[in-house]
Amino acid sequence: MLEINNLHCKIEGRSILKGVNLKVNKGEIHAIMGPNGSGKSTLANVISGHEDYEVTKGNLYFKSNEINELSASERAHEGIFMSFQYPVEIPGLTVTNFIKTAINETRKAKGLDEMSSREMLKKIREKSSLLDIDSKFLSRSLNEGFSGGEKKRNEIFQMAMLEPELAVLDETDSGLDIDALKIVANGVIKYSNDDNAVVVITHYQRLLDYIVPDFVHVILDGKVIKSGDKSLAKKIEDQGYDWLKKEKK
């Protein structure tokens, strides 16, 4: 579904990714781990099409099509979703109106009619209850004054509503207490099926106890330096990244 070949990228003239290779198939859950500043979040932003990140070399393929030149919204229409590490506060725009616009813009791009209000409401109810989201919360301004946990739950709620084919979760677990973590993880598990794929970017093994990955990759200094199964995450939790750094040398 997603194929990244020898991806190099710069931001403000600084090289961050230095030849990333990654292949994600339908039905798979991948975890990407790595210390701070290794390029994890950059990878998420590049997949989503953030304009500040300049791809200098290599290719991104989604469902066998090259997507290097697609804008962020076009990638979203194709089925790529990113859960933000720091969701942006947008005063004056309610969660409900935001999600309605997002869904209908995506439908419009696909040549579909707008979703009926009834259908929309039903879907909102279903997905919000799944994530234990209060209906009052939906009429609040997007992320404004939300706690860390509320912001992350809201991200997963958006994912559940938009039903992307590929979900990239950037540090969705950071700042969450264990109860919030379980709710968020449960949302991801419910969403995950044989037709979609999840890429979880995280510092910690903790989230991976709930969202069990099929593959674990470690990014160090802008490159995937090691891939393995879930035991790799466990080993990192126990031993940190130093052994990998040494191995690399």
Binding site: V88, I90, G92, E105, L162
Partner: protein
């Protein structure tokens, strides 16, 4: 003859139409003298640094325009809040239209100033309130005072709470080109009363109109006033709105100013505190395009302890439009425990648009909480990316963010119909086709 001279000369003719023995005539004469000495403000005046009236005052205007008496309800209906049978004061080219208005003297007075001036039973009230808080150094207000004749007169007695908002609607028919209007409104809310008022100035065609309006508002103890100014006039019109508010203890006054239209609009909005535990709210939303110019000049004079004021002005500027915000807060020595907040945020959509923002705090008390701040910027890039990443394309995302920025001001608009109407206005101003119901 220049226009200032015409104003001075024409006063003799104006005097033939008014009662020279009425106590307020003394105010007219004194005010005319002040205007004669001071003339129109120029950019040399500190309070007019960023707004020039030269191009306006160098032209000639009709002072008592001939009106088109054929205006019907259907012509003005869309400028009125709703069809409900609420109190309305409608003025056509400065002349009151009993036919289009709904007044009352039953339990409260919602009528015209000319009636309040002429009838002896209002003499005491007029004497007590008229021109008591209009600053003498404000020449345009003096000019208005000197020509005081007509406007809204609203008197809400103790404990009365009118159910529906009262609308003050001024229309210019453009029957003649280039007219100069000077409505004068006097509003008094006695203790424990509660009223909502909507004011609007509207031209019905694109002939030149200049309105130099003065509104005096007296909020007595524990009274509540919600005042809404809708400024969405045609590009041929100029509005100088001078609003002076005197608040007694425990009173609560909010003024929302929605500035979307007009060629040049200047809002002089001043609050004077006369008692403790007062709350004053000033909110503004300005959305401009082409060469429009809107200047908000505010003053909150904290003179008594334990009062609060809250100012929040937002502006969105495209094309070559210009915004000015000059907000002054004065906290006098006696005004301990003052809580004053002021914020002015602006978005410049184009390179040619411009904002001059100047917050001013003058604090003479030592135990106060005051804050002010202003921003001038573009839309937040990360917020744009956030929306893009959810499938909302660039153009729609920009519109949605701008809408969100503006929409925030509406949270405190308490009249549901008005809220809806303004949301629609905002959407149309921003060219947003929102994917959701307003």
């Amino acid at each position: 003859m220049d226009f200032k001279e015409k104003l001075l000369d024409s006063h003799l003719a104006f005097e033939q139409d008014v009662d020279l023995l009425h106590p307020i005539h003394k105010y007219r004469k004194e005010a005319l003298k002040r205007f004669e000495e001071g003339g129109f403000p120029s950019k040399r005046d500190e309070l007019w640094k960023y707004t020039s009236l030269a191009s306006i005052t160098q032209k000639d205007y009709h002072l008592s325009p001939t009106t088109d008496s054929n205006i019907e309800l259907k012509d003005i209906k869309k400028y009125s809040l709703n069809d409900i049978d609420s109190f309305k004061l409608v003025f056509i080219d400065g002349v009151f239209s009993p036919f289009l208005s709904k007044t009352t003297h039953d339990g409260m007075d919602i009528c015209v100033l000319s009636a309040a001036i002429s009838k002896s039973k209002y003499k005491k009230t007029i004497k007590k309130y008229f021109s008591k808080i209009v600053p003498e150094d404000d020449n345009l207000s003096s000019l208005n005072t000197s020509y005081t004749k007509e406007g809204a007169y609203i008197f809400i007695p103790k404990g009365i709470e009118p159910e529906d908002p009262i609308q003050i609607l001024h229309f210019a028919t453009g029957n003649q080109n280039s007219i100069w209007l000077q409505p004068r409104n006097l509003i008094i809310t006695e203790s424990n009363s509660n009223v909502q008022i909507i004011e609007r100035h509207q031209s019905l065609n694109d002939h030149k109109v200049v309105t130099n309006s003065v509104t005096e508002i007296y909020a007595e103890n524990n009274s509540f006033i919600d005042y809404y100014k809708i400024q969405n006039d045609l590009l041929s019109s100029t509005l100088i709105d001078n609003t002076f508010i005197s608040q007694e203890k425990d009173s609560n006054v909010s003024v929302h100013t929605f500035s979307f239209g007009g060629n040049l609009t200047r809002n002089n909005l001043r609050f004077y505190h006369k008692g403790s535990n007062i709350s004053s709210t000033l909110k503004g939303l300005t959305i401009l395009e082409s060469k429009q110019h809107v200047d908000h000049n505010t003053l909150v004079n904290h003179a008594k302890p334990n009062c609060e004021s809250h100012q929040d002005y937002k502006g969105i500027f495209s094309d070559s439009s210009i915004g000015v915000f000059n907000g002054r807060i004065i906290v006098e020595k006696e005004a301990q425990k003052t809580n004053a907040f002021q914020q002015n945020n602006n978005i410049l959509i184009t390179d040619k648009s411009k904002v001059n923002t100047k917050p001013q705090l003058e604090i003479f008390a030592d135990d106060v909480k005051c804050s002010h701040g202003c921003t001038v910027g573009q839309l937040d890039k990360q917020a744009l990316f956030y929306l893009n990443s959810r499938g909302i394309p660039e153009k729609e995302a920009r519109a949605l963010l701008t809408y969100g920025f503006a929409n925030n001001v509406l949270e405190s608009v308490k009249i549901p119909n008005l809220n809806k109407k303004i949301k629609k206005l905002i959407a149309s101003k921003l060219g947003v086709n929102l994917g959701f119901d307003l």
